[in-house]
Every structure is written in structure tokens, then in C-alpha cells.
Symmetry: D2
């Protein structure tokens, strides 16, 4: 049966120590819940951390890579999907995810949240600034959930998946 995929988006090189810590915890909990973790796949920031956490939790990790450079892939990616299409791959990230979680915020992450909303995907915002929250609420209120911890994000995923009959 089609596996449940949770996409985790977040800053790469500009990720803060706190965002990295949250992402690793998030990956661990997603894996424990039995879900596949999908990310942008690079060996940087939130992408790297969420995959590391998911592997620690015994889960499967999928990376949707922007380039063909194998050396820039997170070593914690089990399945490397190589797009060679730069930031255009952000749309694949969100379309392939049952639920999208943004952990932290940046330019790429903002594009992913906006593309997710455009595609009618539910988005969970973790470690999100007030400005980001206010803006995304303005353009996609009914699809947004603001959470304060990885545990709360998992709980929201559970509710959203159940509402779609995917549990």
C-alpha cells in the first residue's frame, strides 16, 4: 500500500542550531510513527538533520535533490531522487507529501509553503516567525496549523491524516 509521506522543509545552510535540533527530533518522531520522511535531500541544515533523526528512529528517508552532485546529498538519505532542476524541485517536494511541515523559514522554505498552499496541501508551521505566520494565514488560513514542538507537529499530522482517511 502507498506509504504515508511527510515532507519536512526548512533552511539549508542558514539553519539555526535550534532549527537543526527541532528537525532531528521531528525526523525521529516521524520515523517512530511509521511514516516516510521526505526532504530536499541536501547535506545541510534542516534537510540533513531531519534525515539523521529519521534514520535514528528506524524510518525510511527520501531526498528530492536539486542537482546531480552526489557529494551534496545528505548521507542520511536512503532514496535519492535526482531531479537536476534546482528550486523547481520544490513543487515535487510538496506534491509528494501527504502533509508538509515547515521547520524554520527561509526563501526556499517560503516557496515550498506557498506551493503547498497553492496545491491545497496542509502545512504545519514550526519555529515560524510572527511575520511569516501572519502572511501565510492571510493567503492560506484554512490549510495552516501553527505548532510549538515536534511532538505537537506529529499530533497534528495524525489528525490531518485521519481526516483524509490515511492512517
Amino acid at each position: 500500500m502507498k506509504k504515508i509521506i511527510i515532507g519536512v522543509m526548512g533552511p539549508g545552510d542558514e539553519a539555526t542550531a535550534e532549527e537543526i535540533q527541532l528537525a532531528e527530533k521531528l525526523g525521529f518522531l516521524l520515523a517512530q510513527a511509521g511514516w516516510v520522511t521526505l526532504s530536499g535531500g541536501r547535506n545541510a541544515g534542516v534537510m540533513d538533520a531531519v534525515n539523521r533523526g529519521a534514520q535514528k528512529g528506524g524510518g525510511l528517508t527520501v531526498g528530492i535533490l536539486p542537482t546531480t552532485e552526489a557529494s551534496k546529498t545528505s548521507v542520511h538519505v536512503d532514496l535519492a531522487i535526482v531531479t537536476d532542476m534546482g528550486s523547481a524541485r520544490n513543487n515535487i517536494n510538496v506534491l509528494s507529501s501527504d502533509v508538509v511541515i515547515a521547520c524554520g523559514m527561509g526563501r526556499g522554505t517560503a516557496a515550498e509553503v506557498a506551493l503547498a498552499l497553492k496545491a491545497g496541501k496542509h502545512v504545519i508551521l514550526l519555529a515560524c516567525s510572527d511575520n511569516a505566520h501572519a502572511f501565510f494565514k492571510e493567503i492560506g488560513d484554512e490549510l495552516l496549523t501553527l505548532v510549538k514542538s515536534p511532538q505537537e507537529a506529529i499530533e497534528s499530522c495524525r489528525v490531518l491524516l485521519a481526516s483524509k482517511g490515511r492512517s
Copy 2:
């Protein structure tokens, strides 16, 4: 010589009457300035209006289309570039533009602004809410210009192009 391309992004079906009016004026002025107008190419909202205006101004219009459905292309598009890649084409919109202008705001437009900032492109915001402005300032201040009219947008384009030696 490579022509100067100005990308105009904005809501499609959800565009307001004011946004449509601004987009048409903008297209007219872009054409008069001698620049090519690039948009998402659909026959809706800001996309349709900016192309209509540009043709009235005697300019050339390029549409980067999300699907192969010819019936959904603006009749004011001179050159239809058919991507068949949905919202992933938003990245092509911004990468192909010397300057990006957002006229109004929505989910697709937000993705385009974020992708433009990610790619280091200058973005001019017209008819933009306070929340949108505050958020994009937070993630891309040095690349943003807020304007109040199509005329002011053209003036900003002129300054930005000159700073890149593209005038």
C-alpha cells in the same frame, strides 16, 4: 542582443478589479519602455491583463504556460512557451526575468516572489498587503522595492537595470 525581460506575477482567477487595472497599465508602460513582458501566460487575472496592456503598448509578450491546454492561454501572448509542469514553471518565470514585479498577491505569486529572492533576483512589490511586505522584507530585504503605482514600478526597473548594466 539579448532582450530585457520583465516578469510580472500576480493572481489569476482571484485577481481583484484593481489588480487587473494596475496590471494592464503596467504592461502598457513596460512595452513603451521597450522591454519584453513575461508572465504565467494564462487567460486570467493579472497574467491576461498585463499581456493585453503590453500589446496595446506595442510590446512583445511571452507566456510560460503551466499546461498544454491552448484554450487557457491568454490571447495576448505572442510567444507561448509550453512547460506542462504546473507550478514548477514558476521558477522558470523568475529565472528568465531581469526584474520581477509582483502585482497583487496570492499563493502562486508568493511562491514566485520567494523563488525570485532565492535566485537573487530583484523583486518590485505593487499592490502588496502589509503582511506580505513585512514577511518578504524579513527574508529578502536587500532585493525588495515597494512601489505605489505602475509608473513607480517602471522607474524602479530602470534603476535596477542600470545598476546591472542592462539598459
Copy 3:
């Protein structure tokens, strides 16, 4: 560690009964070898059959889907990567595969073989016409292997993977 992915390309709706039988056998053997099976993911022809076979063999299946239409996804796809980019996703199919196997031939498959050769990927041709073989030999001889059975395709994969240190 990054899993080994074998891409299997082949006709969809136009697949012959023989091609479907070969694809199912191929999927089974790929799974038994411990490799991930990647395909175009649709519920038709070679794509559907190779996934069915791989699941019977206890393997993991990845589908790189051309559209967002969930009803057109093979029920034997474990991980659905939704690109919404039509045939442009063919390039992702080959870039993500350690080795590409073409099972049968058609327009989409021909594009995938050509894109694989362009990217320097090894291609194994199974159930391939003389004309197809002659042509691809002309443009990509050093990357091609012609085989006569699924078993022989697996054996070739093993040799190719070993030569890349991926075994």
C-alpha cells in the same frame, strides 16, 4: 546507506502481453536482489507490471508520477513521487537510477533511453527491436547492454553495479 535503485522503463498502454510478463518477472528478480525498483509509476503496462512483480518479491517500489491524478498511480507503488511535469519527469527517472533497464520500446521509453545515455547512465535493453538496438548503439554504444531475459538483465546489473563499487 543510499539504496541501490534500478529504473525500469517501458510502454504503458501499448505494452504487449510479452513485455508485461517480462516486466513482472524483472520486478520480482530486482526485489529478490535487494534493489529498489523505480518506474514511471502509472497503472499501465510495464510500469504496473514491474511494480507488481517487485512487491511479490518483497521489494520496495518508487513511482515517479507525471500527473497529480492519484487514480492513475499503480496500486503496486509504495512511494509515489508526484512531479506533475508530464514527460519532463522522464529525466528524473533516469537520473535517479543506478542502472536503467528498458523493457520493450515506445516513444516515452525511447526518450528515457536517450536521456539516460545523455546523462552517462548504463542502459540494459530487453525485448528491444533490431532497429532500436541499431540506433541506440550508434549514439551510445559504450553504455548499452542487450539482454535476452530478465535473469540476464539482473546479471548485467550486478556486473555494472560492481564496476561502480555499488554492490
Copy 4:
């Protein structure tokens, strides 16, 4: 009104002197016919030559570029559409063309011919080997025209466009 776009595909760095000469002549004649010339846009081989010829003929040239590297764009491209999606952009080349002409053959060109046939586009083959012709005839006979000169290619375009009411 939507302009008529003729896509010319062919080898880049591996183009022969004859293919380059044919491409330049082809571009010139396309321009004289009043059509837009579309290509892969790089400053190499058939792409560069067809754009040079088209500009000499007073025509408009569109390049669909695989990367963001401006230095690799043909100086004879008027409108640079930057995809940053590598060979996946080949599908955009053919979808955007009213008719596709292959001038010479190689891995990228083969992918483009196959993608064009897949999309139901007419393809004119110029300077094509016997093997290539035999293979593409096998998978797309009703959409293929084999020609012996740029002049004959133009004549075929005229007939094909007329049959689609695009003249």
C-alpha cells in the same frame, strides 16, 4: 496573435561542420518565412548556428536554456528562457514548437525527437542517419518527414502548418 514557433534541435559540442552549415541556413530560411526559431539556446553546435542564421535572416530567436550560466548562452538568442532544469527542458523545447526539426542527431536530439512524437508533434528529420530514420519510423511513422535540405524542411513546415490552420 500567437506567433508560429519552429523548434530546431541538434547536437551541441559534437555537431559536425556540415550540421552547423545546415543549421545556419535553416535559421536564415525560418526567419525569412516569418517564423520564430526556438532552440536549446546554448552557444554550441546546431543551437548556436540556427540562431545566428535566424538573426541574419531578420528573425526572432528563443533559447530554452538548461542552466543559469549566462556565459553558455548563444549570443544569437534574443529571448533567453532560463529553466535551470538540464535535459528535462527538452520537453519544453518540443511542446512549445508548432513543428520540430531535427538537424543532425545525438543523445539529446534523440530524446527531443522521441518526446516530440510522444506529444504528437510533427518532426522533420534533416541530416539523419539511416539507423535513426529506421528507428523513429518504427515508433512514429505518421508524424515523421525526412528531408534532404533546409529548403525542403521549410517547404514541409509550410505544408504541416497549413494542415493545422497555422499559416
